[in-house]
Structure formats: C-alpha cells, structure tokens
C-alpha cells in the first residue's frame, strides 16, 4: 500500500508472520554479542555430569560387589551415563530459563502494555525470543558438545534406527513446546498473584524432578511411573533420552509422541484461557 506523504494511512503487512522472523533474527544477533557467556555455560554445565558418573559408578560397583543384577530397571551403568548425557540435549531444548520470571515481571511491572498496544502476539514474541537464545546456545554447543560426547562414546552402546532418530527429533520439538507453554502458564499466574518468585522456585524444582533430570523416571516406584512418565514433564527430558537409547519399542513410539502432542494441545488451551482471564484482571500499574 502506498502512503500519501502527509496523511496517515493503514498499512497491511505483506506477510503476517514476517515480524516474528525479524524478532528471532534481531534477538539472535544481539545474543551473539554475549558469546563468552554461552561458551562458559556450554562447557561448565557438564561439570555435574562428572559427579553423576562417579556416583552411579559407585552404586553399580556396590551392586556388583553385593552380587546384585548389573542393571537397575533395565538400565546398565553405561545406559545410565548415556541417559544423563542425552539429558543435556533434551534439556537444551525444554529448558527456557528466565521465561517464567520475565513474563511475571512484565505483568507485575506493567511492561506488558507495550505488547498489548502493538499488532503482535505476546506468546509469539516470547517464543521467538527464547528460540533466539536456543539458536545461539546450540551454535556454541556445536563446538563444545561433540568433544564431550566423543569422550563418552564408549557409553553409547545402542545405534538408533532411522525411526528412533526421527522420533527423537520430534520429541525435542515436543520438549521445547511443553517447556514454553508451561513457563507461560506459570508466568501468567502473576495476573492473580503479584509476587510469585518463591512459587516459581518451587515449581522449577518440581519440574526438574519430574522431567527425569534428577533420576530416570523408570527408577521410581512402579505405582508412580505411569503418572510420572506420561505427565507433561516427562516429555521435557525422560522421553527424548529413552527414545534415543532405544528403550521404547518401535510400535510404542507413535503412542508416546501422540500423548506428547496431546499435552501440547491441552497446554495451549489452558494458556489461552488463563491469558484471556488474566487480561481482564490486568491493572496495568505504574502510572
């Protein structure tokens, strides 16, 4: 549409989603400035893995000395190390640090206003913003992860099939989606409870545990496993790992991924409802 020089006119965007691409691109470029931050994060985040390897080595050695089975719930010591190593990949997609806090801060401090007055979807903006972080993280990780995984290569006994690779990639998409939606849901609680920082900490700890990051979910009591494994949090860590390890029978892959997409749908609906109800309560404080 051509704008007349002195008169205001309506502009119809050429491509409605182009603005989200620009947000992603701009934010990625800006994050690239903080290279050192990402390098340190990508390298030193593996330090806990060293502790984990030693810990499970001790557990399995004690079992061996006691004459117990060399595997726990179908997982050998090598499987255990592989699980925790793959967890770094899974959490590299599902973990979106700072999102809950930023959303609640935007609501609490009235910064949400700038998004409400523009023709942009707030959730779309946040998703692109976090995706930009992920792109930079993985760009740096391309240089730091391979050496680590090369050092651990002897623990990766299973060679994934094509289907397992495909399912793994899909599961990473599910992990990111559920991670984002969950953060959005918790962040929008700020519409009702202005101060939720302590609550955020508790929620993150629960998510950390239920994603299988702390301990594989199949090691927990049998009665809890169906609940934990098929909870949305299981898709943030546990399922991508066990899919890549070949622990999920091929004929179950579709079922597992299908439930993951179902959770995305459920979270989407809950998020929409919370957002609409929350905006009605929004008092846009701050003058």
């Amino acid at each position: 549409m051509i704008n007349s020089e002195n008169s205001p006119t309506v502009i119809i965007p050429r491509a409605p989603f182009h603005k989200y691409w620009v947000i992603l691109s701009t934010r990625t470029q800006e994050d690239m400035v903080y290279r050192a931050n990402y390098v340190f994060g990508a390298v030193f985040r593996f330090l806990p893995l060293v502790t984990t390897i030693f810990l499970w080595y001790a557990v399995y050695q004690a079992r061996k000395a006691g004459g117990a089975s060399p595997s726990i719930q179908g997982m050998s010591y090598e499987d255990m190390v592989a699980y925790y190593a793959f967890m770094y990949i899974a959490r590299g997609f599902s973990s979106v640090p700072g999102t809950m806090g930023d959303i609640s801060k935007d609501i609490k401090d009235g910064l949400l206003n700038r998004y409400l007055i523009k023709p942009i979807d707030y959730f779309g903006y946040q998703t692109m913003y976090r995706l930009a972080h992920k792109l930079v993280f993985w760009y740096v990780a391309l240089f730091t992860f391979p050496p680590i995984f090369y050092l651990l290569r002897h623990y990766f006994s299973h060679i994934p099939t094509v289907w397992e690779w495909a399912a793994f990639v899909v599961s990473l998409f599910i992990a990111f989606s559920i991670g984002m939606f969950f953060c959005f849901m918790i962040g929008t609680l700020a519409f009702w409870f202005l101060e939720i920082s302590t609550f955020l900490f508790v929620v993150m700890m629960i998510e950390f545990f239920m994603s299988g990051h702390l301990i594989p979910l199949n090691l927990l009591p049998r009665v809890l496993q169906p609940v934990l494994q098929f909870s949305p949090f299981g898709y943030e860590g546990y399922w991508p790992c066990v899919i890549l390890m070949g622990k999920v029978p091929q004929d179950h892959l579709f079922q597992v991924l299908g439930i993951g997409f179902l959770w995305i749908g459920i979270f989407y609906v809950i998020t929409q409802v919370m957002w609409k109800m929350g905006l009605k309560r929004y008092s846009a404080v701050g003058g």
């Binding site: 549409m1 704008n3 002195n6 008169s7 205001p8 006119t9 309506v10 502009i11 119809i12 965007p13 050429r14 182009h18 603005k19 620009v22 947000i23 701009t26 800006e30 009235g110 910064l111 206003n113 700038r114 409400l116 007055i117 523009k118 023709p119 942009i120 905006l279 009605k280 929004y282 008092s283 846009a284 701050g286 003058g287």
Partner: protein, 328 residues
C-alpha cells in the same frame, strides 16, 4: 463521525485496604478488607478527526487510566468507547495498526537493543514498507536531531533522547490517532519545547488526531485549543482552554502604574482585593462585573501612568479547580 467516542466510561478498582504496622499486616493474612476506587467515573466525550485535545488533571485524576482504556490495555468496568470505529479492548490488529500510545513515564522501546534495531523491530511489527520506513526515519531523526544516536543502546540514551525515539517509534506507521501520556514529564526546558513544537507541527501537517494528557500547563497552553478537565475520575469541563478561566474564575486582574509620587494602600481599599502594592504599582483582583467601574475610578481619582486588565493566570484557576475549591 467522531474519531473517538467515549460514553459513560468508568473504571472501578477493588483494592486491598491495608492496616498500618506489623499487627495490621498479620491481620491482613486472615481477614482482608477491600475498598473500591473509582479511577474513572462516568466520563463521556467525543473527538473529531484532526483535533489536538488536552486531557488535564492532577495526579490520580484518571487521565492515564482513560488513555489505557482507549488504547485497549484495560477493560472498563462500565461504559463504551469507540476509536476509529473499533472497541479498543477487543485489541483487533486492524485497530492496533492505526493508533499509537506514548507514555512519558514508561519505556516502550527494547531496553537492550540499539535505537535503530528497536525502531526496525517496530517497523516490522507494524508492517511498514522499507521505503516508507526510510522516509519517515530520515524525516523524524532530522527534525528531532537524533540521527547520530541511532546506534546507541536505548538504555544508554538520556531521558530526552529516549523520549524522542519513543515518539519516532510511535509514528513510523503513521497512526491516525496518537495518544500521548505526559510526553514531556521529566524533560528539561529545551527538550520540552522541542517535543511540543514537534507535536504541534506533526498535527498540523498530517491531521493526526492527538489526545494529550499532562499536568504541565505549558504543554496544554502551547498545544491545545480544546481541553477536557478531569478530577477524581470525573469530567468537570470540556471546551476551549480560554473558556476554563471564564467558567471557573469570576475575577480579573487590574494592574495599574501610578505617576507623581504614587498612591497609598489605604487609598485603594474598597476597590478590590489588593494582591500586590507598592507606591507606584498595584495589582487588584476585581469581580468581572466591576472591572469597568473600578477602572474608571482609578483613572478618575489617581494620576495613572499605565493600566492593564488581564485574566487570572490559568494555572491559578486550574489549581483551585483541582483542589475542588471555587476560585472566587
């Protein structure tokens, strides 16, 4: 058809009543009491296309709350509003592409991006073409003298510079309605003047409808022929700025300079309220109906060098209106 139509708009907040002290805070955990605050109370007005209207009121009057409802940030409790034919709080993209809101106390640019990137993001969000963007950007940065600051991070700009970029960002998509909430607050005298001149010129050139809130009389006097006065959430006046004085002030000021030794204070008693007096100059506050009579008395009884009849300063009138007292 009016560009902005507001009908019986009200916003009522339910806020917690907190008792003072630690005891009060503990009691509040078990027994919360609430009170209702009528931030905007039954306000109605219409604005035609191209008007530049001032929205005047003291702090807490309801000006910003009204603007937030017109921009769709807040839902009203009661009442309706139509801006460009849209209901603002439905937040349709077609509406959001046609208006802009600039808040003097709030930063809407991205803090952690250079100014140019922030403007570019805005360009893409609103779907402004590359040619139009370049034209508007060149024009505005030249007018506001900020071209050399485009590469600076927004958080490193001074308040005045940031405000200029906020204005540029809001005008990239050439909105038909511009809502300005205290755009000159906190700025130095020179920056205030620059912003005012820019707004006035922009309104004149583009016929953009502008609704401006401020509690700086200089902003209102420099920019607005029409003013809506709001206090305690209620509209108390809507009309020409000079009519505010006529409606709310029953007096005028007569300042008179004397010759040949001057005049004693006692000689002026009974003519009006003496606001200032020296031997050679006095300022009297006189009821409107008595101005002609008192002027004639002064001219006939004393050796007058100069006499001026003026309105009571508008600031004084507005101040008394805000305080809820009748000026005279």
């Amino acid at each position: 058809m009016a560009i902005i139509e507001v009908e019986k708009l009200s916003k009522i907040y339910r806020t917690q009543k907190r008792l003072p002290g630690l005891g009060g805070a503990v009691m509040g955990l078990f027994n919360r009491q609430y009170t209702q605050v009528r931030a905007v109370d039954d306000v109605s007005f219409t604005i035609e296309e191209g008007e530049l209207v001032g929205f005047l009121g003291p702090n807490g009057a309801g000006k910003t709350t009204t603007l937030k409802m017109l921009s769709g940030i807040l839902y009203p409790t009661i009442g309706t509003a139509r801006v460009l034919g849209f209901t603002p709080w439905e937040r349709k993209n077609e509406y959001r592409r046609q208006f802009a809101l600039v808040m003097g106390q709030k930063n809407q640019l991205w803090w952690d991006l250079p100014a140019q990137e922030s403007l570019y993001l805005n360009k893409e969000i609103y779907g402004v073409t590359d040619d139009a963007y370049k034209k508007v950007l060149d024009e505005m940065t030249e007018l506001l003298q900020v071209k050399q600051l485009l590469g600076i991070m927004v958080r490193e700009l001074s308040l005045g510079e940031r405000m200029k970029f906020e204005l540029i960002a809001s005008l990239l998509h050439r909105p038909r309605v511009l809502l300005l909430d205290e755009p000159t607050i906190g700025l130095d005298v020179v920056a205030q003047k620059n912003i005012r001149e820019f707004i006035k010129d922009y309104n004149r050139r583009t016929k953009t409808t502008i609704l401006l809130t401020s509690h700086y009389m200089n902003d209102i006097q420099a920019l607005c022929d029409r003013v809506v006065v709001i206090n305690h959430g209620k509209k108390i006046f809507d009309g020409r700025l000079d009519a505010v004085v006529e409606q709310f002030s029953q007096s005028k000021l007569i300042s008179v300079t004397f010759k040949n030794g001057g005049v004693d204070r006692a000689q002026l008693m009974g003519m009006g309220e003496i606001l200032e007096h020296s031997k050679v100059k006095s300022i009297l506050k006189v009821l409107r109906d008595n101005v002609k009579k008192v002027s004639n008395e002064l001219l006939n009884q004393f050796d007058v060098d100069d006499i001026n009849i003026e309105e009571v300063p508008i600031e004084e009138v507005i101040e008394k209106v805000f305080k809820g007292t009748k000026p005279d």
